[in-house]
Symmetry: C2
Subunit: 345 residues, 2 copies
C-alpha cells in the first residue's frame, strides 16, 4: 500500500491536519514544522491520492473539452492544437483535460458526454462549431463553460475569440500595398462565424482602398458549402483563374484551403507568388513545410488553449463572474507564397 498522509504525519511527528495545511498552503504553520514536513514528504515520495482529495473537496479536478467529431479527425489539426494548449496549462494546475467529441445530430437526452452525465468535470471548453442544444444544456446546468472560436448571435457567453476580422484586413491590405490589383477570396462554409468575419475583413480592406467596384465581390469570391477545404481550394482557384485570368492574389479562408489553392494554381501553370500571391489563415503546421511555404495569419493555438483553461478556472472559482470575451490577436506571417523575398515579419 502506498504512502498516505498518516505516514507523513507520524514520521514528522505532527497531526494529519498540519500535514494537510502544508499540502494546501493554507492557514498558519511554523516555518520549521513546514520544512520538516516537506522534507519528510519528499523523502518518502508521498503522492496525495486524487480520489480522496476530490471526495473531500467536492471537486472533480477535471475539465471537459468537446469538439465536433468531424473537426477532430477529418480536416483540421487546429482543434487538436488548442487541446494541447489546454493540456499544457493543466499540467501546471491540478486538473486533467477530458477530450470527447459530439456528433452533428447531437441530442442531449441520449448523446450527453459521459463526463457531463456523471458530473465528472468542473467546467467545459467547447471548440468550434458545436451543437446549440449542448450549449443550452450547459447553460441550464449552471456548469461553467467557455466557447472557443465560436459564438451565438445575441447571447453573451464566455468566449475566447480570434481576431479574424483584423487579421484578414491586415493580410488583404498587405496584398494591396504590394501592388496586387485583383484580389480574390476562396472560402468554405459560412456556417462558421469565423469565416464570415474573415470575409468581412477581406471586403472592408478592399473598400478602404476603393478597389471594389460593381460586381467585384461576385466576380472574385468563391465559396462552397462543403467541409473538405483542400478540395474547395483547388476547385476555387481553378474556376476563378480560368474565368478571371487577371487575378493576381488569392486570400483564403484558411490554410487547408490555401494549400488546395496553391495546387490549383500550380496545375494551371502560373507562378507563385510572382503571378498569383496566396495568403492563408491559421498557420497550421504543414503551412511551413508546404512548397512554396505558405504566408498566413498565425493563430496562437496553444495560447488559445491556455486562455480557455485559465478563464475556465476563474469561472470555477468565482461562479458569479460576469461573462467575458477574450480576443486573441493574430500575426501576419509572410513566407514564400505571397512575396518573392519571403522574409518573416
Amino acid at each position: 500500500m502506498a504512502i498516505t498522509i498518516k505516514d507523513i504525519a507520524k514520521k514528522a511527528g505532527v497531526s494529519i491536519s498540519t500535514v494537510s495545511l502544508v499540502l494546501n498552503r493554507k492557514g498558519y504553520v511554523a516555518p520549521k514544522t513546514k520544512e520538516k514536513i516537506l522534507s519528510v514528504m519528499n523523502r518518502m515520495d508521498y503522492k496525495p491520492l486524487h480520489s480522496a482529495r476530490k471526495l473531500a473537496t467536492q471537486k472533480t479536478g477535471n475539465i471537459g473539452y468537446i469538439i465536433w467529431e468531424g473537426h477532430f479527425s477529418e480536416v483540421e489539426m487546429f482543434y487538436s492544437q488548442i487541446f494541447l494548449g489546454m493540456e499544457y496549462a493543466a499540467r501546471k494546475s491540478d486538473s486533467y483535460i477530458l477530450l470527447t467529441t459530439v456528433k452533428e445530430d447531437f441530442d442531449p437526452k441520449n448523446d450527453l458526454p459521459r463526463f457531463l452525465k456523471y458530473n465528472d468535470v468542473d467546467g467545459v471548453a467547447l471548440a468550434g462549431r458545436v451543437p446549440h442544444a449542448l450549449i443550452e444544456y450547459l447553460d441550464n446546468q449552471q456548469l461553467p463553460f467557455v466557447l472557443i472560436d465560436y459564438e451565438l448571435p445575441g447571447k453573451s457567453y464566455n468566449c475566447i475569440k480570434i481576431d479574424n476580422y483584423n487579421g484578414a484586413f491586415r493580410a488583404v491590405e498587405n496584398l494591396v500595398l504590394s501592388d496586387k490589383k485583383y484580389i480574390a477570396f476562396v472560402g468554405g462554409t459560412f456556417f462558421h462565424p469565423s469565416i464570415k468575419e474573415r470575409y468581412r475583413g477581406y471586403r472592408e480592406a478592399l473598400e478602404k482602398y476603393n478597389l471594389v467596384d460593381d460586381g467585384y465581390l461576385k466576380k472574385y469570391s468563391y465559396c462552397e458549402n462543403i467541409e473538405t477545404s483542400r478540395a474547395i481550394g483547388e476547385n476555387g482557384a481553378t474556376k476563378l483563374l480560368n474565368r478571371q485570368p487577371e487575378i493576381d492574389a488569392i486570400f483564403c479562408c484558411n490554410d487547408t484551403t490555401a494549400m488546395g489553392v496553391i495546387t490549383g494554381i500550380q496545375k494551371i501553370g502560373k507562378r507563385i507568388p510572382q503571378e498569383v500571391a496566396v495568403i492563408g489563415f491559421d498557420d497550421i503546421p504543414p503551412a511551413e513545410y508546404n512548397m512554396p511555404k505558405l504566408s498566413t495569419l498565425r493563430v496562437p493555438k496553444l495560447e488559445i488553449g491556455k486562455q480557455a483553461f485559465m478563464l475556465l478556472n476563474e469561472l470555477i472559482n468565482y461562479p458569479n463572474m460576469a461573462p467575458q470575451t477574450r480576443m486573441i490577436s493574430v500575426d501576419l506571417v509572410i513566407r514564400e507564397s505571397s512575396h518573392s523575398e519571403g522574409n518573416e515579419q
Copy 2:
C-alpha cells in the same frame, strides 16, 4: 447537494449496502428489491460520485494515452484517430482517457506525465515511437501498459501491431499483377519499425516475382530521415522520376508521403495512374479527398484504439497475464491513384 446513495437507500427502504450491490451488479439481491431500487435511482436521477467510488475501490478509472509530441500535432492525424478509438471504447466502460504528450528528449526524472507522477491511471497506452526510458519506467513500476504500433526488439511487451508486412506485400503484388514493371519505394525515417516492415513487404513482393535484379532496390528506393513526410514524397518522386523515367509505380511508406509523391508526379507532368501508379499506407482521412483519390492500405485506427483499450482492461483485471501481441490486419483500398477504373475492392 446532489443525490447520494443514502437518499436512494432511504427512499427505497433498504440499506446502503443493498443499493451498492445493485449498483455494482454483485451478490444476491431479490429481483423485486432490485427493481424497486433501480426505479428510485432512475426517478431521482442518481449519479454515483466518481471520487467516492474510486476512493473505496482504490482504482482511478483512468487510462493514460501517451504519444510523442511531434506525432500529435505535426504530421499525422493517425495517432489522434487511435485516441478516438480508445475514447469510444472508454465510453462504454467506466473510464476516461487522459491524453498527454512527451518530448523526444524525455527524462523520467523530470518529464514524467502528471498522471504517472501521481498514480492517476490504472494503465497506459503508448502509441508510435516513444522514449525507451518511459517504457522502462512503466515496466519497473509494474503499471500495465500497451505499445501501439511500436515494439522493442528482444522485449516481449504487450502490443497492438499493424500487419505492415502483409499490407505492403499485397499492395506491391497488386501493382505487379497490374503489369507495373518498375515499382519504386518512397519512405521516411527508418527509426520506426513499422516503416521497416513496410519496406520489407515491398522487397519481398518484388522478390516473389523475380523483379529485383542487381541494384534494383538502390535505384528505386528513396528514403530521407526527416519527419515531414509530405516534403519527402515530393522530393522523392521528383528525384526518382528524373533519374529513372521508366518508373511506372510508386509504393509509399504512408499516405502523407504519397500525397507529396502525387504532387511531385503532377509537377513533372506525368499522368496518374496511367503513367505512374501510386499506393500509400494508413488511409488517413484526406486520402479519400485527394485528387486523384489515393489508393492505400486501410489501417483500422478506431479498431486499434479499441483493441488497445480492451487489452489494457484485461491487464488491469488480471495482472499476471502473459504478455500478448495482437496483430491488426489491413485492407487494400483501390482508388484512383493506382487504377484507372478506381473501384474499391
